[in-house]
């Protein structure tokens, strides 16, 4: 399957959509309208939940804010629905931004619970605020009009709704394939990964959250002017859960899943309403929600992935072309070989009463490979985390390239030119090798939300793609750039992490136990790669406990034991040092 095939399929789908009102009955068209309106929310939720990993139970509240805002502007104050759109979108995005700033730093399920909380609070508000019709709602909302042409019938507003859905899908897929979109897709890999790439995770989460709210607000605006009447019911907590249901049924990782999920849930609900009275007379209202919830639970038990990803697995892969040569990305000024690059001065880190790192000082000079070694529990990992900003030192100072980074957050240290790898490999398994390495170029590129959504970033993307391919070739993984990272064996995954780090054009490469879990051949390959990088004047700091791997590779070694520096020197000196032997072997008999 090539790109052309995908475009043809999309065109065919569009043509079917355009013909639908001609063929279908008015009732079916109305149903389609609801599907379109719900799709918008579900697409936003797919972006937020499936891509960004933020589960929100409160999207219905955003739909409600926009619907009430436009109803207030148009029905109660007699202004144009278009002004209502402006007001609704601005208000929704504003509320979302405030809620996001307050809650998006929350961890895991705390974050989802907070969405339950504000979803409920806002939902209760609609029925209880004076001037918004309380539980009776607001009626006689005017239709949307284009010039003097009012979109009154369901077939008329149909084209507006589905036009917006199609546009949102197009822009959404563009965005996901851009610099910002890749950052969003990295969010599920955890904060440590995202920040290590020089990406401000909180900012990306906030942008994703506001985009989802924006899509919900579009949905709310369309809903208010299509049904011409609103009441608190469609925006309450149960609707928030229904939106989540749509997203999960469709397949949260995929934007199209939002549309498919919205269609399935809406049609299913509709047929449940049709058939249940036949089975159980008089109790249909109650059974509807029971049947519905039961189906949802069954679905989550049997197909957690959702429908679109399950089907997509059987479709032929899209064939892609190897990236073409492009103008190189800007490089950072590299330090001259031999110059002082990193200076750790009296670093100390305490956890309560435990001193994990105690008054450790050492220097790294440009162009060398330095290893920090030590037995288990020596404080290597803590030292590493302090260097990369994952932890702050309790005392002491860390200076990188002449600037103190002691208090800097991880992403700023990464931007300053420190690129790292992880002891437990952190890759995005569902992204290709090329995309994983492109994540590394985040700090060297600049295109934002609009450039990504409207594809104004082509030149930069081509450069980033070419840079990523070059780094893949440099580490020897250049033959299959479109393979999924999760399919690689562990040894190659570590190498891929190094390629990603190299794509950031670092001044210092910091490797956390790169040889852990590797087979002998893989270790040899890794050592060879690191030597070739040193030959290219890259400075490397390795934290490792595999002595054999370290001894044959590095220029100098710093030995830690019980949090303190034991000694420092060239490998041969360290090998014969009695203190080191004692620390590793428990004393010479």
């Amino acid at each position: 399957m090539t790109r052309l095939h995908v475009q043809l399929a999309a065109a065919a789908a569009l043509a079917c959509l355009a013909l639908a009102p001609v063929v279908l009955s008015p009732f079916s068209v109305t149903l389609m309208n609801y599907i379109g309106i719900y799709s918008l929310v579900a697409i936003g939720l797919a972006l937020l939940t499936g891509v960004g990993g933020i589960v929100s139970f409160g999207q219905a509240a955003f739909v409600g804010i926009a619907a009430y805002a436009t109803a207030w502007v148009s029905a109660l104050n007699g202004q144009s629905p278009w002004l209502g759109l402006l007001f609704g979108v601005a208000l929704t995005c504003g509320v979302a931004a405030i809620l996001g700033v307050v809650t998006l730093r929350l961890q895991g399920h705390f974050l989802s619970l907070s969405t339950v909380a504000w979803g409920l609070a806002i939902g209760f508000l609609f029925g209880n605020v004076d001037g918004l019709g309380r539980f009776n709602g607001i009626s006689s909302i005017p239709p949307i009009s284009l010039g003097s042409f009012a979109l009154v019938s369901s077939a008329q507003i149909y084209y507006l709704i589905w036009g917006i859905v199609a546009l949102v899908l197009l822009l959404g897929y563009n965005l996901l394939d851009s610099r910002l979109g890749r950052a969003m897709r990295a969010l599920r890999g955890g904060n440590a990964l995202v920040e290590s790439l020089g990406i401000n995770a909180f900012r990306i989460k906030l942008v994703t959250f506001v985009i989802a709210a924006f899509l919900a607000s579009l949905s709310g605006w369309l809903y208010a002017h299509m049904s011409r009447f609103i009441s608190p019911g469609p925006f309450d907590a149960s609707m928030g859960i229904e939106y989540l249901m749509m997203t999960m049924v469709g397949g949260a990782g995929n934007l199209l899943g939002g549309v498919v999920g919205a269609a399935i849930v809406t049609l299913l609900k509709n047929s449940v309403q049709d058939y249940l009275p036949l089975i159980a007379k008089g109790a249909s209202g109650q059974l509807e929600i029971v049947a519905f919830s039961a189906l949802f639970i069954l679905f989550l038990q049997w197909a957690r992935q959702g429908i679109v990803p399950s089907i997509a697995r059987y479709l032929p892969k899209i064939r892609r072309e190897r990236p073409q040569p492009a103008p190189p990305l800007p490089r950072r000024p590299q330090p001259t070989p031999g110059e002082l690059l990193l200076k750790v001065d009296g670093a100390e880190r305490r956890f309560g009463g435990l001193v994990a790192v105690n008054n450790v000082s050492f220097e790294v000079r440009s162009g060398e490979i330095l290893a920090v070694i030590g037995p288990n529990g020596a404080g290597k990992s803590t030292m590493f985390n302090c260097l990369t900003g994952a932890l702050r030192v309790s005392k002491g100072e860390i200076v990188f390239a002449g600037r103190s980074i002691t208090r800097d957050p991880q992403s700023r240290i990464a931007k300053a030119g420190v690129a790292r790898t992880f002891q437990h490999v952190k890759l995005r398994p569902r992204m290709s090798l090329l995309e994983n390495v492109m994540l590394g170029t985040y700090g060297r590129t600049s295109s934002g939300l609009f450039a990504g959504a409207f594809r104004l970033n082509r030149r930069e993307e081509a450069s980033a793609r070419h840079e990523a391919l070059m780094q893949l070739e440099r580490v020897g993984l250049g033959d299959k750039p479109f393979e999924l990272a999760g399919n690689l064996p562990l040894g190659n995954q570590r190498i891929l992490e190094i390629a990603r780090a190299l794509a950031a054009d670092p001044a210092l490469l910091v490797l956390d136990e790169p040889a852990a879990g590797l087979r002998r051949q893989e270790k040899l390959r890794l050592a060879e790669l690191l030597r070739s990088l040193r030959a290219g004047h890259l400075t490397i700091l390795i934290v490792e406990h595999d002595m054999e791997f370290v001894m044959s590779l590095v220029d100098r070694i710093v030995v830690l034991d019980f949090g303190s520096k034991l000694c420092e020197g060239v490998p041969s000196a360290i090998r014969s040092d009695e203190r080191v032997q004692e620390a590793y072997l428990g004393g010479v008999a």
Partner: protein, 347 residues
Amino acid sequence: MTSDIAAILAIDGIATGAVYALVAIGTVLIFTVTRVIFIPFGDIAAFTALTLAALDAKRFPGTGALVVVLACLATLIEVISLIRSGDIRLLPRALLFYLILPLAVVGIAWLTMRMDPPLAVRLVLALMLITPIAPLLDRIVFRPIADGTVLLLLTVSVALHFALVGLGLLFFGPEGVRTEPLTSFSTEFAGVLISGQTMLIVIAALVFSGLLYLFFDFTLVGKSLRATAVNRTGSRLMGIRPARAGTIAYLLGSLMAGVSGILIAPVNTVFYDSGFLIGLKAFVGAIVGGMTSYPGAAIGAVGVGILESFASFQSSALKDVIVFSLLIPILIWRSLASLHSEEEIEE
């Protein structure tokens, strides 16, 4: 607001909070043992009140039918999974626990009811009928996805709540109920009238939390539950079955929720869907305790009760808005607190 009104509101709040506290403790219990945030405990509480009201009115409560339906479903699922895994010899045991026991409970309740039992017996019957529901739901709904993420379990739990609300309407009807007060005693303390019901609620909350504490600290089963909460794999290696620990936790939690339902029924009118807000507010309390601490959850729940009481004095329409808005700062505080501990665990 005068000090008199403040005192009345505070006492009212403590009584409401004590009811939430019982549900909150059940929520923490389930979460620590199974990682499920069991939102439907509120529904269990409401169903207990509705069951008691039906018993008072000499009608056989819909809970009976609900238990029978769930027992049949659970048995079916258990039998299928046993046959699939080839553990046929476990079948009699499965039938005993998932079919015969629940049906026996319903049967006993049905027979006893014909004898026009006194209030005390009706209370026991209501609790007996309600306790099988959560363990059966656990078998049907949660056991197949026990390895899922907390978020998946939470999503399923929320969906389950909606199913239960629908079932509640089906089995109990739309009418609200208010049961007879358990006592007509009242006393005056520092110039404020305190009803016997309020005192009963607080005493019951204290007694049940105390019993739970004794159970956890002084019985082997209690200790095995705590072990499962701390480390599932580890306790499994010690011969504790997580599924069994989960069932016990659900039984205990249902009992707590049932008691809270009985206590709240004479004070507030309870509808089939009243459970959601009880469950959520109890849950807010549980979060204040970090979802791990029983005293923390109880204190948090009482705090929510007092807050709600004062909020409804300010604006009865917006009381829920106020309570849930205040959850956000609490969540932030808890998240910061737990972030700190996570960081230390990682090292």
